[in-house]
Symmetry: C2
Subunit: 340 residues, 2 copies
DNA sequence: TTAATACATGGAATCGATTCCATTAAACGA
DNA sequence: TCGTTTAATGGAATCGATTCCATGTATTAA
């Protein structure tokens, strides 16, 4: 393979001049430009990316970590990230954890040995480990759609509170007043999914809706759970049925709808049911489902924007406005990653 | 970040000794080992991968090109490739073409600028371009599950001839004698899918089965095509219906089965239908389908084995035997990539 | 005791591109 | 005409790890 030295020799100039030519520096005469280009063409020269990386101390590589790419949610996320990063001349290195924290460790080590300039984590196994890396490499670690356990790592997530509120208000404008609320966590305790529950509480308070304790369900996760909820509602509600059900997941929603329909209760005519797609398998499900969709590519773009801004110090032009993001319920949480 | 020089200084030894220690060379005294390790621990040193790559002229990175990772077939392929390559200390750089040959060009350029040691192409847009790279970088380009147009590039594909023969013989042992054959190409001309057609022809000749020209269908690709075939068979076959149908794709098979069942013909009781999964969406389809499955991870392993053997000169231990591969109908076609 | 190995080690040269520094030539202002 | 910018250029130093070479010491063989 040809090197810059050989080009310089063949063109009869110094290596410095060749380098300046390659990098569009000023002060290269038209005369030499031609000679250099001729030498490059003749020897089919391409600069070694490795050498450039070593000298410039930057790789233009970004690592992306997901648990499984076979999961369409992550595939879509990766796709959006790759598209955006390619626009800025960055290359993406994806790795899968398969829920193994050793793989996560290997992935993060790429920050240490300078294989990547930064990382986007769409999946985290060992929160302590990630945190230590985020502190050692501030500005280089971004969480995406992942619980920000210590709140001191830069992250981009769906604004669950706002998204839930939007969905509930939508149901309200449709005339619904009798709500059932289903959560995967705990209704009262600040556990996973609490911001959705908080939104529900604020919503009912704001509209002065009464909450029937029998219509609050906790620790529900599966389609079977959904079916049970439906049977429970039908059995216990002698006089009135609810007219809207908010669930924490699409699985639960599907089970619910299935069981309701078996009992000749029409969805959404008699009861509106809304799902929540943590994983967007819902798109492929048999039952068309109203669900709170995660704005995957908006989130990906946001994460990339933040990371590139950190790395280059320059604002990356957004191709989506902040207003769009807000409407879609996507917000970002920028915090300094700790002391440098 | 600490460098090897700083480690050498702190440990009171030469850089050569540190390097030898790091690379497990002999001739480093126990005394210095301890000192060096202490310095490494104290400064939290990790060797720069970039510097190592420059000096050793090898990156331990392999590029993988697919059209879309959101396609589960490619996601599975990538997964298998990554698992295998990680075992040998290689890192994977995936890129998606999205059917754009400019993206393919950018991907292949990574060979030129030494970002990757080799590439696996599971998708090709511009055959001429790929060929020129395969010739410029012999041993470094492997086709995977892609038509090997010029037959002079190393490639791994399903042995369609054998797989088809196996499937037909299976039907034969089940007692079927009246076959319908559906192809996406042309029955007589050597076009895409011809090796399957060849297998069918050899099969019928071997067992001296007569072929009804009305039971040969060409240029069929969609589920709608499948339905048409079913209607056609029912209408025209006054006296006898076939008892087995071999199709070139799962889409066609699904349409066929659907239409047959609508006409009260039971599958597989009355007629056996066999599909072919070029893309494994069949696994998620509503109708359980007998299909010729592509041995994805076996193909991926084979491709990686060949590539690593090319690169290192060493035989990579197979974790699947060749016998297994044959049974699964997977074969490889090793050809020299041209003159160096 | 001497010669021949084996064991250990430091450090210069190297991989290939970038950048700073020194130098020279041309253009410009007064 | 002379001093001062501006334009062009070559090449050494640099990024950080590896490897070869030279040198030195300890061990073994004869």
């Amino acid at each position: 393979m040809a090197t810059i030295k050989e080009i310089a020799k063949k063109a009869g100039v110094g290596v410095g001049t060749v380098s300046r030519y390659l990098n569009d520096h000023p002060y290269v005469s038209e005369d030499k430009r031609k000679k250099i280009q001729a030498a490059i063409d003749e020897l089919d020269y391409t600069p070694s990316a490795i050498a450039t990386q070593l000298r410039s101390q930057s790789t233009k590589n970004i690592g992306v970590l997901v648990s499984r790419l076979a999961n369409p949610f992550f595939a879509e996320l990766f796709d959006a990230i790759e598209r955006k990063l390619n626009l800025y001349g960055y290359q993406v290195l994806v790795s899968q954890t398969h829920d193994d924290s050793a793989a996560e460790q290997r992935f993060l080590d790429q920050l240490k040995n300078h294989q990547v300039d930064g990382v986007i984590l769409a999946s985290v196994e060992n929160h302590e480990l990630v945190r230590s890396f985020a502190q050692a490499y501030p500005q280089k670690v971004i969480l995406l759609n992942e619980e920000n356990k210590y709140r001191d790592i830069q992250s981009v997530t769906l604004n669950h509170y706002q998204a839930t509120l939007d969905a509930l208000n939508y149901l309200f404008t449709q005339g619904h007043r009798h709500f059932v609320y289903v959560t995967g966590g705990n209704y009262t305790v600040k556990s996973h999914g609490y911001s959705r529950t908080k939104a529900f509480q604020d919503f009912t308070k704001q509209h002065q809706l009464s909450i029937d304790p029998d219509w609050l369900f906790s620790q529900k996760h599966t389609a079977t759970d959904g079916q049970e909820i439906a049977r429970n509602l039908i059995k216990n509600s002698k006089n009135t049925l609810p007219d809207a059900i908010f669930t924490n997941s699409d699985e639960v929603a599907i089970g619910l709808i299935d069981e309701l329909q078996k009992n000749n209760i029409s969805v959404p005519k008699d009861i509106a049911v809304i799902g929540y797609d943590d994983q967007p398998f819902a798109r492929f499900a048999a039952v068309p489902l109203t669900t709170i969709r995660q704005p995957i590519s908006a989130m990906a773009n946001k994460a990339v924007n933040i990371l590139l801004k950190n790395l280059t110090g320059q604002d990356v032009p957004e191709n989506i406005t902040n207003e769009d993001l807000k409407l879609k319920g996507c917000s970002s949480n920028q915090v300094d990653g700790g002391s440098s």
